[in-house]
């Protein structure tokens, strides 16, 4: 299985050059207790980061259904960030462990159908890590900028 996985490469075409006015959209789904609180702290500390992320609040990273990720990639997003509490710190004791496993599987699946692995990312950000949140957003945004607009499986491409 490992070998097979290694052979899978992105089928996203780099030649799809981004139009000059293109700005990536990142959908960030954050757990309320750590990452969302951390992102609030980024604000309170006035730490600046790229403006492309749109944050959605969920109670816990375990609430994130793979469906949300796929739906985002299909409709509005060029990249998705899921963020939760550090292992052991989940407000609901064990939610982030489920989230981590579910995320890894989803990511493998997305890679298998051709998405570049940088399109969806996962991070642990605590309520105290305002600065870390800014760094994570910066990294995800830069990664997605490098990849360009997401055309793969976008709904509008099918309707055409």
């Amino acid at each position: 299985m490992e070998e097979v996985k290694d052979k899978i490469v992105s089928i996203e075409k780099p030649e799809l050059i981004a139009p000059p006015e293109w700005k990536p959209v990142i959908v960030g789904i954050l757990c309320n207790w750590c990452s969302y609180a951390g992102s609030d702290l980024t604000g309170t500390s006035r730490t600046q980061y790229p403006p492309n992320i749109r944050i959605i609040r969920v109670p816990c990273s375990s609430r994130v259904d793979p469906w949300f990720i796929i739906k985002a990639l299909q409709t509005t997003a060029d990249g998705v960030l899921i963020s939760g509490c550090h292992p052991g710190d989940c407000h609901y004791i064990s939610g982030n462990y489920y989230a981590r496993r579910r995320f890894l599987v989803t990511k493998e699946l997305l890679k298998m159908v051709g998405f570049h692995e940088h399109r969806v990312q996962f991070s642990w950000v605590s309520a105290a890590e305002g600065a870390k949140f800014a760094q994570v957003v910066k990294k995800v945004t830069e990664d997605v900028v490098k990849l360009g607009p997401l055309h793969l499986y976008k709904k509008e491409n099918f309707s055409k």
Partner: protein
């Protein structure tokens, strides 16, 4: 169709300087469902809230979006504004355009404005899928369970019971009192521990609102806040407490000797024993592990001497069930076993003891009649070396934390030593002196001045035997040289660790604990006595090392929390909980497995309308559910939804960008 009202806040200059607020309002007005949009200086102020209330009525709005600061800040405020206008408060959504836009994109007003516009659109889309929710109210059983009868448990039980709330106090050992019952005099005032503790123990026994169940353990806890059901195993004591008068004829005659836990094993007790003279309840129990009658069927002497016929070798463990509304866990601490300090020769040299052993020796009711003695030859020591931070603050030995109380009790030990053996001298090896507390620094100064104790700043590197003496080699950091002290006795202030059964107890209660086994509070600063599980509270050293004043303060805080919880006949709970749509549920029970709170059970329902065959479906107890959403995402049949964060709400947000 939905009729949404949008209220955009300037937050003075906080938002308005970096986001073009009027543009956000104009963008919002373009959304089909938005029937009203407006901006204002301070939305959270009274006039701001009045605008919301007025618009709700005037425009017959069906949901509200406030674009302002983080929902973690003012969601409650705005929900209340909705309620006041007669609208269901859960029809509110907050777009976080301050923390998530104006404060973090201060160099690009256009981008910040665009983003704010998106955030408003997402919130509008979500709000359209919002449903009316109603606070859940669950009934409460007004009885508290206190686990552990040390000073923490005693104080919590007394405070709760004084508020006329029944308490069940479960103590594992035959008597309440805990570690405090083993102490001699206590810092920082040197009042006798027994003298201040025993009256409280007696109060527990005689309090009309306290049910004391000694020699027992909690073995099961089901249910949720306000509605727990506990199973308590009462170990067989083989003594009928009803007829026993506590005369003591039995244990005086018992021939079996066992190391005495109360005296840290310095002397012995019998197989039938009362842990100490002031024990509450003052009734003996038979230690089944050592009684020859119970082990081999031989002896029975105690039964012969008991005039009341109270001894009953046929007694068995008993399981008692209690319905309770809240739990206070107060299982205390233990001392770390210093054997890993091979360089000290712990275990090899008899004249190295730990702090509680010293405490027992200097206690008037102790095994040595109140005098410190050398275990090797029974001689009274003249030179005593105290070593602090043994285990504590030593990452290499596995304990990184500071045990907090050792600095103080070691100073106390120096004073007690001086009181008992006037011509003695204490040498204290220390890393730091941490004496933060009312009267604590003064107490340490007193120890140094009054007793002439020599404080040596540095670690001990080696202890070895030389004739009768123990040579303690360490460094004197102040002189910058190695020192060697010829000691008669060495006392180790070993680390304070939680009770070894804490992890098992935590699992059965459904609460969390840290890597050392200390039980975890819900928030280290703002919720220090609550656990993450509603209705379960922590008091005393079970949460972290503490001295008596702090333990008592925390215990009283627990009592206040319990009384608050029991103040009404019902408890109000956030309605953001999950529910199962039985029609969709396939009965796979994946959700049952993932729920961290065991909130999901199964039930059997008819296969179809009026059918005889049954099928199994999941059922969520809304009282227990904490609303994490784990079950929603795991459900392959999409049968579960979490109110406030339903699939349609989240998908609406995603597609609205």
């Amino acid at each position: 169709m939905a009729r949404v009202g949008v209220f955009v806040c300037f937050c003075g200059a906080n938002i308005a300087d970096f986001v073009d607020v009027p543009t956000v309002v104009e963008e919002a007005k373009k959304i089909r469902e938005v029937k009203f949009a407006v901006d204002y200086k301070y939305m959270c102020s009274d006039p701001g809230q009045q605008m919301i209330r007025d618009a709700i009525v005037q425009y017959r709005l069906t949901s509200i979006v406030v674009a302002a600061c983080s929902p973690r800040m003012h969601e409650k405020t705005f929900r209340k504004a909705l309620s006041d206008a007669g609208m269901n408060p859960y029809l509110l959504e907050v777009a976080n355009i301050r923390e998530h836009s104006s404060w973090v994109h201060q160099k690009d007003k256009k981008a910040a404005t665009d983003k704010a516009g998106d955030l408003v659109r997402m919130a509008v889309a979500k709000s359209i899928a919002n449903e009316q929710l109603h606070e859940i109210s669950v009934p409460v059983t007004k009885r508290a369970l206190v686990i552990g009868g040390g000073i923490a448990g005693i104080q919590a039980a007394l405070d709760i019971a004084d508020a006329r709330i029944p308490v069940t106090l479960v103590e594992r050992s035959p008597s309440i009192g805990g570690r405090m019952a083993q102490l001699d005099e206590t810092f920082p005032t040197l009042d006798c521990s027994q003298c201040i503790l025993t009256p409280k123990m007696v109060d527990v026994a005689s309090h009309p609102f306290i049910e004391l169940i000694p020699y027992s353990e909690v073995i099961e806890l089901d249910g949720y806040v306000g509605n727990y059901k506990a199973k308590i195993r009462k170990k067989a004591s083989y003594v009928n407490f009803k007829s026993c008068t506590g005369c003591g004829a039995c244990w005086q005659k018992c021939p079996v000797k066992v190391p005495n836990e109360y005296n840290m094993g310095i002397d012995t007790r019998k197989a039938i024993y009362t842990p100490f003279p002031q024990a509450v309840p003052n009734k003996p129990v038979i230690d089944a592990k050592h009684c020859t009658m119970l082990l081999k069927g031989k002896c029975g002497i105690c039964a012969k001497f008991c005039e009341k016929g109270a001894i009953d070798f046929k007694m068995t463990d008993e399981v008692i069930e209690r319905e309770i509304g809240a739990v206070v866990v107060a299982t205390g601490y233990d001392l770390w076993d210093a054997t890993p300090y091979e360089e000290y020769g712990v275990g090899r040299y008899k004249d190295i003891i730990n702090s509680l052993e010293f405490e027992r020796m200097v206690s008037a009711n102790g095994p040595t009649g109140g005098l410190p003695v050398r275990p090797s030859d029974g001689k009274v020591p003249k030179t005593v070396v105290f070593i602090k931070c043994v285990g504590s603050r030593d990452k290499a030995k596995g304990i990184e934390f500071c045990s907090k109380i050792c600095c103080m009790y070691t100073a106390k030990h120096a004073i007690l030593l001086h009181h008992k053996v006037h011509d003695s001298r204490a040498y204290i090896f220390y890393m730091d002196i941490r004496a933060a507390g009312k009267g604590y620094e003064e107490f340490v100064n007193r120890a140094q001045v009054e007793t002439g104790a020599v404080y040596l700043r540095g670690r001990v590197s080696k202890i070895y035997q030389k004739g009768e003496k123990l040579m303690v080699r360490g460094e004197d950091g102040q002189l910058g040289q190695e020192v060697e002290v010829e000691a008669d006795l060495v006392v180790l202030a070993t680390a304070i660790i939680p009770d070894k059964e804490n992890p098992a107890l935590a699992r059965l209660l459904g609460i969390s604990y840290d890597k050392y086994g200390y039980l975890s509070e819900a928030h280290p600063k703002l919720r220090p006595v609550e656990t993450a599980k509603a209705g379960i509270f922590l008091a005393g050293c079970t949460q972290a090392p503490k001295d008596i004043p702090e333990t008592v303060a925390q215990a009283s805080a627990c009592a206040a929390k319990v009384c608050g919880l029991f103040a009404g006949d019902t408890i109000k709970k956030d309605p953001m909980v999950s529910t199962v749509n039985k029609d969709f549920c396939s009965g796979c029970q994946n959700c049952v497995k993932v729920c961290p709170y065991q909130a999901i059970v199964t039930e059997d329902i008819p296969l179809g309308h009026g059918a005889k065959e049954m099928r199994t479906v999941a059922k969520i107890n809304e009282g227990v559910c904490q609303g994490c959403g784990s079950c929603v995402a795991i459900c392959r049949s999409m049968a579960i939804n979490l109110a406030g964060f339903t699939d349609p709400q989240i998908i609406n947000e995603i597609v609205a960008i």
